[in-house]
Symmetry: C2
């Protein structure tokens, strides 16, 4: 079968995207609000872009029609130009999954997720101490895709500092995949790790 996306409800199109483009790596993005509150949210519309400059992209989607749905993460990046991408791996997938819940903007999301904040070196937002890979980023380009429900932005970040946990690395300084234990998202609560599928429960 075939269909024209603009003729369908955006929710159906969103469903097709998340049902067919997978497995997706997960960026756990930390930002600071204007009042210093710490925001932490996972995004699975995420990819590497270039090595020089080192860039990454992720897409915070707008889900509804009300002003509040402009994601805190995006608002903070627009205001400060800074964020940290912490790569979600098996060992803290559960905490990241939990932090996908919407919270009031003034909640401390590190605390809520049960993770610690480690200071960054070149940007103000802290990184997730438990994450073995973190990329300190400055916003390089923010592409606005529209303001309808189902639309959003694509954020391209230039990585100014890379953090790699020492225990990931072999003698030559190369990341060992089995030590990283990567996970990808393949459903609302379903993940794919090196050993296959597993499910995480949202605890409210």
């Amino acid at each position: 079968m075939n269909l024209v996306p603009s003729e369908r409800p955006w929710q159906d199109i969103y469903q097709i995207l998340i049902d067919t483009v997978l497995p997706r790596p997960i960026a756990w993005v930390s930002t600071l609000g204007l009042d210093g509150e710490r925001n932490l949210a996972p995004f699975s519309f995420f990819m590497p872009v270039t090595a020089r400059p080192m860039t990454l992209a992720f897409a915070p989607m707008r889900r509804g029609h009300t002003p509040e749905v402009k994601k805190d993460t995006l608002r903070n990046i627009e205001a400060s130009g800074e964020f940290v991408v912490n790569v979600v791996t098996r060992r803290h997938a559960d905490a990241a999954h939990h932090s996908a819940h919407r919270l009031p903007i003034d909640a401390d999301e590190f605390e809520r997720a049960g993770v610690s904040a480690a200071p960054s070196i070149d940007v103000a937002p802290p990184r997730v101490a438990e994450s073995p890979v973190s990329f300190e980023c400055v916003a390089h380009r923010i592409v606005d895709l529209g303001d309808e429900a189902g639309s959003g932005h694509l954020v391209i970040g230039r990585v100014v500092r890379v953090h790699l946990a020492d225990e990931l690395l072999d003698d030559r300084g190369r990341v060992v995949r089995g030590r990283l234990e990567p996970v990808g998202l393949v459903g609302a609560d379903d993940y794919l790790g090196l050993d296959g599928l597993f499910e995480l429960v949202r605890h409210d």
Copy 2:
């Protein structure tokens, strides 16, 4: 450990990106050259962006310094504004893997990959008949990240037509993950499917 990307060779930075951002879904992108030659190449820097408009992004990277390294795919999209993203799944991962080789620009890459071309409806480049999910796209935005080795472009495509193989769908028209059999890239020759890791051999 931590490092500043601009102080390292781009090859080392590329290695960090592909070793830490994973598993990555794979876009097999078909385009037409000015002379009508059919190009088909896989890209694992790939993600969904928004549902309305329905958009996807992928990043063709520039690897070397010579003019030829501007990928045929990018050159064709810049010239025509049209491309098809065919999602790589388990059943044709081997063919996609094989098509990652550089070919002279006038080679017919459908033939080389051993797949058939099916006509698209709204764009000129054909889709891969064997792929159960194809997105006909028009270029929405092409972001130039620089012209050094290790740099490249981020291509945002607006999806004008979605093709879904009937056998993927359940009674309600929803994609069944076990029928799709998604695969992600986790190494140069290593893939992650729903059953775990597998390796594909490049046959020259």
